[in-house]
């Protein structure tokens, strides 16, 4: 795949001149790639959902079946309920943290925000197992509650468990966006309100929160879509009556010819697009928090005595929740037996030796897949960013839109699409294309492309055209300008994009679950899922989970360092 996109880098052409053959070829190559591996699979899914099995005639019968089947309707509303409640609980976790760290002089604000990101470096389904151990019916917390007070709280029962795990996992999306929005509010906005007689909670309600609303909505809609599309967490918690698990189960148990899996996929896509459209609609004309001139962030207030106690209490509780899956996973990975007791009975390193011995294949596969996916994303990202920002090619925006549209395609849908679209395509030796490990890589690359593309776009937008013009003016050719000016200035952004793609691809499961055909081709996330299916495999699964967390954590740290160095290098506005 890299061979298709590689000519992008050394073949830049003049910005303001008419389209050159090189640009056209590049754009065409990208378009073919996106058509083949994004548009075609998704179109196949939609086509199958709307056609009669066997004849290929257009029909709505499949959707009628969906609406008539009790299980599917219930699954749909369960998914909506779980996503909505996850947003509510994620907001409950994120709001106090965001407010405390941006509006008050709060010692450890940096620690809070760093710890707030911790859940994101662990795939939610990994956390789900650990959360069972702490909060399940016979988990540590409920055992202790039962001992001391004689009652239990059903944190993890049915849909509650999914909501609990998802809100703890995804609340950082709201936190990050809300904190950024609060930081972007010009302090004069608040001072003007105070000057006119407003203070305290009224000021927060009338001025501060409305101004931060765009950030909150952006985060909330992201959480909704992510939860709605997630396959692995409900599966691991044994919750099957939600949409994504139903799609997966239909296709894997009944077969890829059964239309219901496709119908559910279309419903998933429509719901994702609808949620995104709704938030875009609510945000329209409200992108104001960042447009204010001058001024710093909001003034910070000192906490009074009892406020301090309440604040530290709330933060402590939230952090304990956030750290629970990590701690649980770590304990589980070293535990001999951990069942019906608050803590494991004894400790061992046997699980790690098992993982590094017989299962090191999973780790190797993960590193290969994630690296390749990250490379594809970065090459495509730079090429698309270049075409969109630096050429006048007709229709160049479509490349951007198409690549970004992958955001709305749930992993399970993409997986189903690949299976259906590429199963018929066979290699010379007779193996179907869909069974090859490279399809996993392609699916991962497509899934992560929107994020890598944003990083590359941002990196290129930071480079003022005048910097390139200055180089040309001093005698550098176009190619040498790109090599000596553009690429060095973009390096940080490109690397950050690569690391983000790499880290998230390393723990992706939704698409992988559909596409992995043999254990020898399986990446870490898949292996983890398989291990976690049996009580005997939980220890080894946890060890694998710890390794996954470490990989993602190291990558995230690296990308943050790169991003910081990059912005430090470019301490200027363009």
């Amino acid at each position: 795949m890299t061979a298709v996109a590689l000519p992008a880098l050394p073949a830049p052409r003049r910005r303001r001149l008419p389209t050159t053959p090189g640009q056209l070829a590049l754009a065409a190559a990208i378009a073919v790639f996106l058509l083949a591996f994004l548009v075609l699979p998704v179109a196949t899914v939609v086509y199958v959902a709307f056609t009669e099995k066997g004849t290929g005639a257009f029909t709505l019968v499949n959707f009628l079946d969906f609406a008539r089947t009790d299980l599917f309707v219930r699954s749909f509303w369960n998914s909506v309920y779980v996503s909505g409640m996850s947003v509510v609980w994620a907001s409950v976790l994120a709001l106090p943290l965001a407010t405390l760290t941006t509006r008050f002089e709060f010692r450890g604000a940096a620690v809070v925000q760093t710890l707030g990101f911790l859940p994101l470096i662990m795939p939610p389904f990994v956390g789900a197992v650990a959360m069972q151990l702490f909060f399940g019916r016979n988990g540590s917390v409920n055992l202790l509650l039962d001992d001391w007070f004689g009652f239990k709280i059903p944190f993890m029962e049915g849909l509650n468990g999914v909501i609990f795990v998802q809100s703890v996992h995804y609340f950082p999306f709201i936190l990050i966006n809300l904190v950024a929005a609060l930081r972007n509010i010009d302090s004069a906005m608040e001072e003007a309100a105070q000057n006119l007689g407003s203070s305290g909670f009224r000021l927060f309600r009338r001025i501060v929160f409305p101004l931060a609303m765009p950030g909150y909505l952006a985060g909330a809609s992201l959480v909704f879509v992510k939860v709605f599309d997630d396959l692995a967490t409900p599966l691991l918690l044994n919750v099957k009556d939600m949409l994504a698990p139903q799609a997966y189960l239909r296709v894997t148990s009944i077969g890829i010819a059964d239309p219901m899996g496709y119908v559910i996929s279309v419903v998933l896509i429509v719901a994702s697009v609808f949620a995104m459209w709704l938030s875009a609609l609510a945000l329209r004309g409200r992108d104001y928090a960042t447009t204010q001139r001058g001024g710093g962030g909001l003034a910070r207030r000192k906490l009074k005595g009892w406020e301090k106690i309440a604040a530290y209490g709330a933060v402590g509780l939230i952090l304990a929740l956030v750290l629970a899956p990590h701690l649980g996973l770590l304990l589980l990975s070293f535990a001999t037996i951990w069942s019906f007791s608050p803590l494991p009975d004894a400790y061992t390193i046997a699980h790690y030796s098992r993982v590094f011995g017989e299962s090191s294949l999973y780790i190797k596969n993960t590193l290969i897949y994630a690296t390749l996916a990250g490379l594809i994303d970065v090459v495509l990202g730079v090429a698309i960013a270049y075409l969109v920002l630096r050429t006048k090619l007709v229709g160049r925006q479509w490349l951007d839109w198409a690549a970004t549209a992958a955001l709305a395609i749930p992993g399970v849908v993409l997986g189903i699409g690949y299976l259906r679209a590429f199963y018929g395509v066979t290699l010379p030796d007779g193996t179907p294309l869909a069974a090859l490990w490279i399809t996993v890589v392609l699916a991962l690359a497509i899934r992560r492309l929107p994020y890598a593309l944003r990083a590359c776009m941002a990196a290129m937008q930071q480079i003022s055209v005048s910097l390139e013009e200055a180089a040309e003016n001093l005698g550098a050719t176009k190619a040498r300008t790109v090599r000596r000016i553009v690429v060095p200035l973009m390096t940080g952004g490109i690397l950050a994009g690569f690391v983000t793609s790499f880290a998230t691809a390393a723990v992706e499961l939704s698409a992988t679950l559909m596409l992995v055909q043999s254990n020898s081709d399986a990446p870490l996330a898949y292996g983890l899922y398989v291990f976690m299916q049996s009580p005997a495999g939980r220890g080894a699964g946890a060890a694998l989970g710890v390794i996954a967390v470490l990989i993602v954590a190291a990558s995230t740290l690296l990308s943050n360092m790169l991003a910081e160095r990059n912005s430090a290098n470019q301490g200027r506005k363009t």
Partner: protein
């Protein structure tokens, strides 16, 4: 953009009598950074007052102190005789117009203007009346339903002003209100501001780094530098009789010759390097320098009995439009001399030997 509507139909805002502001012994530091140093100031009722100085001189800090956004380590701020130094900003009734205008983008113009009244809170009918009056006063009635982002810079500034005036503040504070407008608008708006302040008879403080703005709008100016008030006075007074080198140099162009006083009684004279001693009257202060303005000096015209004469040579000539500025090199010093430009006049060429003559009564003795 229409000018302020002088025939307001609704009852006018601000029927109250203007108040004075008294600042005494104010000190403010951020850590080791001493931003305001023993500031004392009396602002008269109904006066349009300016804090003028370069950036970082503490003028905005002082303004924000009056509004309550900064807290001084010591000192008093009295508005109408009442010490407000310990009150939070929302209880001060001191209206401030922010440099960035700080209009809330999620509210319409009318909602912005109504905000302070709703916070009081006032009865709904009174809010409606005052919003109407404030919008009318600034000629904004037709824009009431717009969002701030749909307005021009000048219109946004009027909304900010209307929003502040609607609460009928005791004092109006303006933080560089013209800095975000283009040059032409600036001249127009500053006239309107002056006009509005005069009609409302409102005590107002204007922060600026632009001496022209301060001179044209304000009754009196406090020139600030490095956290210290250098001089307080009317614009012409400051220009004619600057208290020190900083004020002399900050307000207009100044020729300053450093030196020292020597001799006693009738033999008293000012001595400067490369210059013949200048006899001075016994009443002259213990000056360390003398200052005169470029337009007060003449070239090769020793008319009048009592002139200071400096021989020199024309080093450069700059045509400024209304005037020609000669840079004259006098024994190692550069002295500026401005001559009004008249058509068909012949300017002196560079390198011409010349002599500068300054009437004694135009010389300002500087002691600091």
């Amino acid at each position: 953009m229409t000018g302020p509507n002088s025939t307001a139909a609704a009852p006018p805002l601000l029927a109250a009598t203007p108040v004075d502001i008294s600042i005494s012994g104010v000190n403010l530091s951020y850590g080791s950074n001493h931003v305001l140093k023993d500031v004392n100031l009396e602002i008269r009722p109904g006066e349009f007052f300016a804090f003028l100085g370069p950036s970082g001189c503490g003028k905005t800090t002082l303004l924000r102190l009056i509004a309550g956004f900064n807290e001084a380590q010591s000192g008093e701020v009295r508005v109408g005789g009442r010490d407000i130094a310990r009150l939070p900003p929302w209880k001060r009734d001191v209206g401030m117009v922010f440099q960035s205008y700080a209009l809330w983008p999620h509210m319409s113009v009318a909602r912005n203007v109504a905000f302070g009244l709703e916070e009081r809170p006032l009865p709904r009918a009174e809010i409606a009346r005052r919003v109407e009056a404030a919008l009318d006063l600034l000629g904004l009635s037709h824009l009431a339903d717009r969002r701030p982002s749909q307005l021009s810079g000048g219109q946004q500034q009027r909304v900010a002003l209307a929003r502040t005036l609607a609460i009928e503040p005791k004092v109006l504070l303006l933080d560089e209100p013209l800095s975000n407008l283009d040059a032409k608008m600036r001249v127009q708006v500053r006239r309107e501001l002056r006009d509005l302040q005069q009609r409302l008879r409102l005590t107002a403080i204007f922060v600026t780094h632009d001496q022209e703005e301060a001179n044209t709008i304000c009754d009196r100016i406090a020139v600030m530098n490095d956290g210290v008030i250098q001089q307080v006075g009317e614009p012409m007074e400051l220009y004619e009789r600057p208290a020190n080198r900083f004020v002399a140099g900050f307000l207009g162009t100044a020729n300053i010759i450093d030196g020292r006083m020597g001799g006693q009684g009738t033999d008293r004279r000012f001595e400067a390097q490369g210059l013949a001693p200048i006899p001075v009257p016994t009443t002259a202060p213990e000056a360390t320098g003398l200052m005169f303005r470029p337009q007060d000096a003449m070239l090769d015209d020793p008319s009048g009995p009592d002139v200071l004469t400096l021989p020199g040579r024309i080093a450069q000539r700059e045509f400024l439009g209304g005037t020609i500025r000669y840079v004259v090199s006098c024994s190692g010093r550069e002295v500026l001399v401005d001559r009004p430009f008249q058509s068909a006049m012949t300017a002196l060429p560079v390198d011409t030997p010349t002599s500068i003559h300054v009437p004694r009564d135009r010389i300002v003795w500087l002691t600091a």
